[in-house]
Symmetry: C2
Subunit: 150 residues, 2 copies
DNA sequence: GACTGGTACTTGCATGAGCAACTATATCAG
DNA sequence: CTGATATAGTTGCTCATGCAAGTACCAGTC
């Protein structure tokens, strides 16, 4: 049984927590820089394009897209799609079924770019994160995330 | 041996990686909101005040402070300390040894606030993160972070 | 078919952040 | 001591973001 002094974490708790913060910050910064360098894309832009790439017909309703993103508000998504549209990677199509709705849809340029970016990104994730961990460690990380999510 | 198809991660790798992203985003958002609610402090502001609280004489050179922070540039720190100074939580003192340097130093109001905020924050970390994990899981997380950091 | 309330998305505004350029001071070579 | 270079910190500019308010549309009620 761990003693739980109020307002103090055990060294183990601290290591687990601050380690995640440090690792997350470091790795995400590297991956962001790599993506920027290789494809002139931020990590958030990449995320959006990725969801579209994996969606049927490479299109998703704005609101569905917003729901999938961990890290962007609805208005943030509006403006991010604005930018992607200006860059010719995405187009907005009004929804036939719902007069209020819009689809964001990959253009072929967007499809090409994100396919290449995915290779860069996944290679980066492997290089800077998963390749350093043994299979058992990967499994216990995954288990930990499940538990924390309840 | 894990097969490593270029540009594709195994499901285990994906779970470990995306789980960290999701957990980090979720927990940090909660902790930030709690701190904001209880003490009108953002997580970054809290971090800065924390380092000062733990420093000798509750003061640190701006540059030392910037080096400790995972998540803020030097100019970002300048402006963050500006805000903390305006709120009366911190004061800037010129360095006696180095004419270019400044110390950021906690005021007594700052000391009081961050002491209270620390209790809130650590309780939050425990509640939303570490308490859900068994001791062994905490240890293997910590070990994983060490490995990833090389 | 007009009201009512809800949903989809966008926009006005304010804010926090980084980069690069700047000022002031330190340090070092000769 | 002088000039060259580096370091500490700040500031101008630009940009991405969130919140709250706005517009347009949908669905249900009478």
């Amino acid at each position: 049984m761990v003693r739980t002094v109020p307002g103090v974490l055990t060294p183990r708790e601290l290591d687990a927590w601050r380690g995640m913060l440090a690792t997350h910050a470091r790795v995400v910064a590297i991956l962001d820089a790599e993506l920027q360098e290789a494809h002139d894309l931020s990590l958030v832009e990449y995320e959006v394009l990725m969801y579209l790439l994996d969606a049927p017909a490479n299109r998703l309703r704005m609101s569905d897209l917003a729901d999938e993103l961990l890290v962007l508000s609805r208005s943030g998504l509006t403006r991010l799609v604005d930018r992607l549209e200006r860059s010719g990677l995405v187009s907005r199509e009004p929804s036939a079924e719902d007069g209020r709705g819009f689809y964001a849809e990959l253009t072929s340029a967007g499809r090409n770019l994100v396919s290449a970016a995915r290779r860069t990104h996944l290679a980066g994730v492997r290089q800077h994160f998963t390749s350093k961990l043994a299979t058992g460690q990967l499994a216990s990380l995954a288990a930990a995330w499940r538990v924390v999510a309840e």
